[in-house]
Every structure is written in C-alpha cells, then in structure tokens.
C-alpha cells in the first residue's frame, strides 16, 4: 500500500513536473530551421528544394536509441497571394528508427517501402536537410503565389505514453514554424 501511495504521489508529481517543464528552456543545441527554399514551377507542379538545418535533442536521440520511431513532418501550402486561397496543401513524412542488431538508422519516406539505412544519425538528418520535392499543384494561373513551409517533429505520432510529456517538454519542441516563400508564375 505504501508503494501504491508513493506511486500516486509520484504520478501527481510527474504531472506537475510535466506541466511546468515547458517553462524552463535548455541551452539550445537542437531544433529545426528552414534556411532556404528555392522554387521552380514545372508542368502542373512545383519543384522545390529545401535547405534545412535539423538536429535532435538529447531526449529525442535517447528515445530513438530505445526503439521509439521519430517522425519528421514537412508541411507545405501554396496560396494565391491576392486572396490567400489555398491552392495546394501537402505533408511529407520521414520516419527514422534505430536498428539495434545492425546498429544502423533506417529512414523511410512516407508510407513507401523504400528504406534507406545509415550508420550515423547525422547522415539521416543530412538527407532530410537537403530535400528536393515535387509538389503537384495542377495548372497555376499566372500571378503571385506564396509557399508556406514548416518542418517539425510530429509529437502526435510518438507512442501514447510519451505524448503528454512531449506536450509540455521543451526537449520535444522541434518546430521550424511556418516560413513564407513568395514566387511568381509567368504566362
């Protein structure tokens, strides 16, 4: 019974800790930043090259080492800069997992079966750092547009027990926030 009471106490304690965890920020050595985006309109699509700087926190690396799959989501939106009507919205997901037997990191893009294996985590992140994606938009009328991009560690895809702590912990805050990149489509 004593153990039980202690557990309950610990539970409330942890809840309080979780709630207050977001207040203190660790010295930043991790996080996601979109450095540059170049856009070249193609046939009913946009060829986008994103240059990013991704680094994972100590807690995220530890989770990865302990078998937690991390998912990095790249959100993209194309809007007409006149009326801000959304033309296209897409999300690309990159799943990273650690394979203890071969001591390698596996990268899976989206829901495809295409796997890439890396011996180092930085190699995996380097792949995502420099991305070239094609965003299908359909025919775009000539005019001004803007591309909004955001890359983040998807906390909603963490294992259920980690989601609540992740909501309140800065160690799990990997979000570039939205950045806007205007471009024009000529006739």
């Amino acid at each position: 019974m004593r153990y039980c009471v202690n557990s309950v106490k610990a539970g409330f304690f942890c809840l309080a800790a979780m709630l207050t965890a977001g207040c203190g920020q660790e010295a930043i050595g991790y996080g996601f930043v979109i450095k540059d985006v170049s856009i070249s309109p193609g046939y009913q699509a946009l060829n986008i090259r994103l240059q990013q700087d991704l680094d994972l926190s100590r807690e995220a690396r530890k989770a990865l080492q302990h078998g937690v799959t991390l998912t990095i989501s790249l959100d993209m939106e194309v809007r007409n800069d006149n009326n801000m009507i959304m033309v296209r919205r897409d999300t690309r997901r990159f799943h990273i997992r650690y394979l203890p037997l071969s001591e390698r990191y596996q990268l899976r893009e989206g829901e495809t079966e295409k796997l890439r294996v890396f011996t180092r985590l930085r190699h995996v992140l380097a792949v995502i750092d420099d991305l070239s994606v094609q965003l299908s938009t359909g025919p775009l009328l000539p005019g001004g547009y803007e591309l909004r991009t955001r890359i983040r560690l998807d906390e909603g895809l963490l294992p259920a027990p980690m989601q609540l702590p992740a909501l309140f912990s800065s160690q799990w805050r990997h979000d570039s926030e939205w950045s806007v990149w205007p471009f024009k489509v000529s006739a």
Binding site: M1, Y3, C4, V5, S7, V8, A10, G11, F12, C14, L15, M18, K62, A63, Q65, H66, G67, V68, T69, T71, R97, Y98, L99, P100, L101, S102, E103, R104, Q106, E113, K114, L115, R116, V117, F118, T119, R120, H123, E155, G156, L157, L158, P159, A160, P161, M162, Q163, L164, P165, L167
Partner: protein, 734 residues
Amino acid sequence: MAFQSKRVGRLILKLLPVVVALVALFASLILVSNVQQPAPGEAGGAGQSYARVLVLTVFALLVVVAGILHRVILLARNVRAQAPGALLSARWVRNFLLLSLPPALIVYFFSAYFLTRTIDSWFDVGVESALADSLTLGQKFLENRTMEVRNQVRRLGREIDNPDDDAEAVRRTLLRHVSTAGPLELSVLTTDGRLVASANINMLADLPERPGDYALSQALEQGEYAAAEPVADGMLRIRVIQRLPSGLPGARGYLLQAIYPLPESITALTDKIQREYRRYQNISYLRTALKQSFILILSLVLLLTILLAILAALNVARRMVTPISKLALATRKVAAGDLTHEVPAGDRDELGFLVQSFNEMTEALTAASEEAERSRAALQSQREYLETVLGSLTAGVLTLDNQQRVVTANTAAEEILGLPAGFFTGYGLSERAETEPFLLPLAELIDRQMGRGPAEWQREIRLQGSGHDSQQTLILLVRGSHLGKKTSAQGGTVIVFDDVTMLNQAQREAAWAEVARRLAHEVKNPLTPIRLAAERLRMKLMDKLDTNDGNMLERATGTIVAQVEALRSLVDAFGDYARDPQLQRAPLALDDLVRDVVALYQHKDQRVQFHLELVSGPSGLAADGGQIRQLLHNLIANSSAAVAQGEQAEVYIRTQVITRAGQQWLQMEISDRGPGYPQTVLEKPFEPHVTFESGSSGLGLAICGKIVADHDGRIALSNLPSGGASTMVSLPLD
C-alpha cells in the same frame, strides 16, 4: 412551441454534464487501452488522438465541474432560503457521497498499486540480459559471417583482372563466382560508385544498387567495407566492398562489391531477436511515462467518477425530492387555507401514490370545507334570524350558561333595563349587578330559581331604578326555562322578561278610574240638592232670626255651600280622571304652547319665575293641544305650589329632541328648586288621592301620567341632586 423548445433546451442543459462526463469517461478508457499498446516504433492511429482526447477529457471535467457548481450553488441558495426539500436534498447528496466515495477511492488506490506493480513486473533483469545476449549473439554471428564472406571477396578480388583492360572478361569472372549460396550479386564499381561490370544470380534482376556514401568512403579509406545491412522486407544481407589492387601507379581505382544473403531461418531469428529487444527497450524507456500516464488517466477516471457521482447525487436528489418539495409547498398552502392547490401527478411509484393521496386529501378537505362553509352560512343565517327574532321581541331575553354567564342578550333586554348594548355578554349577572346594583334582585331571583332545578318558573319583581333613570321603578315579569341537552349541547337557562310597569300602572289606573267614575256619580248627584237646601234655609229663615242667629245661619249655610262646591270640584276632577281619552291629535308646536301657558302664569302669579330652554317646534309632534296644556298646567302648578307662600318660585322648562332605539322623542323636563317630591310620591307617583298639598285634589300627577300615557309617551319623576323636583316627559315624534 416556444415553451416546448425552452423545455427541450432546459433538458439538454440538464443532461449535458452527464453526457459529457460519460463521453470523457469513455475517452479516458480508450486512452488506457492505447497506453497499454506501446508498439515500439509503431506509433500512429489512435496515438494521434491522444492529445485531443486529453483536451476533451479536461474540457469534460470543466463542464462537469461547472454543472456541479451550478447545482451546488442553487442547492446552497435553496438551503439558505429554507426552500421546501432543500435540506433533504443536501442530506441526500451528502449521504450519497459518503456511500460512493470510499469504494471509489479504495478501487483507485488498489488499481494504482496493481498497475504500477504490473508495469514493474514487465521488467526483469534476467530477461533483459537474455535479450541483450541474444542480440550480441546475433551480432557475433553476423560478424563471423561477414568475416567469412570478406575473406571470400578478398580471394575473389585477386582473381579479377584490371577492368580497364577487358571489362567483358571481368564480367565473365564475376558471373562465374555468383551462386545461390553467395555471393548473389557481384559488381565492379569505380571509386565514385559508377558501375563498371556486374553479375547477378538472377538474370532478370535490376542493376546493382549503388552503395551508400559512408560505405564508399569506408572502402576507399580503409580498403574494404563489410557489414550486414537490413533490406526492405526486414531481411538482412551482407554487403562487402573491396578495393581492387591497382597494377599501375596513377591508374584509376576500382571497387568490388559483393552481396551475400543470410539464411532465411537465421534472418527470421535475428529479426525476431531485434524486434523483441527493441520492444523491451521501448517499454523500458517508457516505463516511467507509462506509470505516469496510467496514474494520470486513472486519476482522471476517478475524478470523473467522483464528479459523476456528485452530479448523479444532485440529479437523483433533485428528482427524488422534487415531488416531496412540491408536497411540502402544497402542505404549506393548504395549511394557509389554500385548498385549490394541486400537486402534479408524478411517477407510478410510492411518491406518486403519496402525491395522489395528497390530492385526494385536499379534494376531500375542499369538499369538507365547502360543507362546513355551507353549514356555517346556514348557522349564521339561523343565528341572524334568531337575533332578528329576538331583536324584534319586545320582551327581554337572556340566555345563561351553566356558570350563569350571559351568552346572549337581545336588544329589548338592554333597552328595558336601560343598559348599553353588549353590557351583559360574557359576564355573570351577579358580576354585572356589582356595577349596576338595581340588577341585584334580578340576579338573586335567577340564581335562586336555577338552584331549584330545571322546572320552568315565573315571577314578578320590582327593580328600583334602571339604566335610564335611577329613580324609576321597573316592574318585570320574569320567566325562566332550563335548556336541556336536547336543545343545547352546553345546557344553561333562558330568561324572558317583560316590562309590565306600564301594564301594572294601567291596570291600577283603570281601577282608579272606575273608582273615580263611581265616586263622581254617587257624590255629584246629591250635591245640588244639598246646596239648594242650604240656600233655601238661609233665604227662609234669615229674616225670621235675630242678628246673632242670622249670622250663625249665614256662616253655616255659607260653609255648606263652600264645601259642596269643594266637593263638586273634587268630583269634577275625578270625572276628568275617569273620562275616557278622546284625543284630538294635531300637529303641535310645543314651544309656542309652553310660552302661552307660561305667559298666563306670569300674569297670574308674579312670584313664579320661569327659565325656558326650548327647541323650536319640533316638527313631527302630533298631540291633543288641550291635553298637553293641562299637562303643563298641572306640572307648573305643582312646581309653584311646592314653594311656600311669599317665596320666589323658579321653574325651569327645557325641551330637546333625542333618539332612543331608532325612535325620535321630544323630551321635556320641568324642574324647580323646591323641596322635591316626597318618597311616597316617588314610590307611587301617578296614583290618585296621594296628595302632598293642602286644598289639592291629589289627582294632578295621576292626570299627567294618564295624559302622557294616552299620547304613548313616558313620564318619570325624580329629585335633583342639587335639590328640587324634576319631571321628565317624553313624547314620540313621527
């Protein structure tokens, strides 16, 4: 329609917290089930809704708390206002919580205990060690296998010619060495990863996959690269990259890449070991978070359960107490006399039966009340009728209870006795006799007769004085009758009395009138012969007698004639008294008549001084002027005669109009400052031959009494406290 929509809205508001709480409870349970499946690396699906469900649960908590607060505030306000049923509701909620909280808390603590123990039991040092060892074993196997195939590739590398010389020969060499046991694929690449020649055991296979940058760099830097690599289907393969020896300095370098398969049985086992190891590591890593999540969700479930219990207690209490509150309210209204209030019928349970019984009771009460009201109205009507009858009676009626307290006294009783309305009611007769001593004979008579038993009785008593006049003599004919149990539940006595003073006097007057009439008839007839005989004697003998005898004859016959005249006057007075009234009523101005009579007296007798206070008229007096003149004459004569010869006489005449028992009366008082009436006169004031004056017939007051009685009036004699006699005459006005 608006009423219905409002009702539906209120119902939704009532049910919302319960529904929300149930949804949140359900969601919490879903969370529990999700937390129990921490699939290593397979987060997703339900996991995505974790935060949403949590937010939903918190929102539900807030809604439920708001609902509870709202109800608790309402309940507290009702308790303070002492609303019907509020205290019962509060007690109900308290008891409900006292009953439901302990089991919930016990379940919570034991659940938390077993949960944490269960999670801890998942982790075992032996298991962890075994898994790690298994993984190490797998890694060792892969290393060994990798070493084997690396040696094979080294040997093969030495057999391959320089690709710059003959690429086709190189391809043939490669093709010769591929086999199903391995290598499956052999290829020669440039140092930048470009394919020069390749051979695959499967002739239809795609071109060889370019090795990763890391593998290439390793091969270039260290001369070879060999590692087991996972492939898409979860299988493992061994990739070996060997730098081929370069014959000439400055010539391009080449790499030999060989892909070796692993036996399926081995691959399946290593995959299984890896998967279990990852799962164990994952659970181990999530151990604390799991406990936190379980306890958090369990706490949420407990909190929701408790809040739901409170909500349920409040709702159930309200539902249970509402009919009781309505009944309490209705009882208050019924107690306040409102029997029309009906409690709406409830469910078909005991409370519903109680409500129905209450409504039936109020209906019965209403019927009984209406019946009682009808009876009361009938009784009141009967009472009013009886009072009217009693009030219209000329006889006085008193009803006494067994303690001789007067229960009712009619108007006539109070009027006869000259007492104010309500004088008797609630008092005993003896008690009232202390205030009005003239009632003492009546009280004694009734007391005496009631003491003798229930037989009816009748007596005539004389009361000396009354409420009207302390000098008046009242003669009452009193009859008593005992009220038996048949006529009155309380028992008692009814006393009926009549004022027979006038009747008594009238009888006496009639007797006196008969006497006077006979006396006048018998005496008047011989008077004339006696006078004539005396005058003849004087006339015949006067001349024949000497002077002395003549003088004696003259005195004797003079005396006879004078006495005969006196007798004649007396007989005339008796005649007047005995004569039947032949009133000639006509409107009469009493003030003028009084002034006429007074003028005559002032002229005739200077020693009489009059003081007049007369009301004008008054109108409405219909009387025989001659009779009233005689009345005035007699009374003024009495007042002036009462004063000794030579003394100044003062006569006061006052008139006023008064109202007595709804009837207007002209009241005339004639008083003087003389010695007053003797007691014998006051006792029998209007009886003939009672004189106090020498030379008077003694019929003056008797005639006055008769004249007043003929005019339906009242006359009373009294002596003034300051001295002097007072005669009060009351004549009715139309």
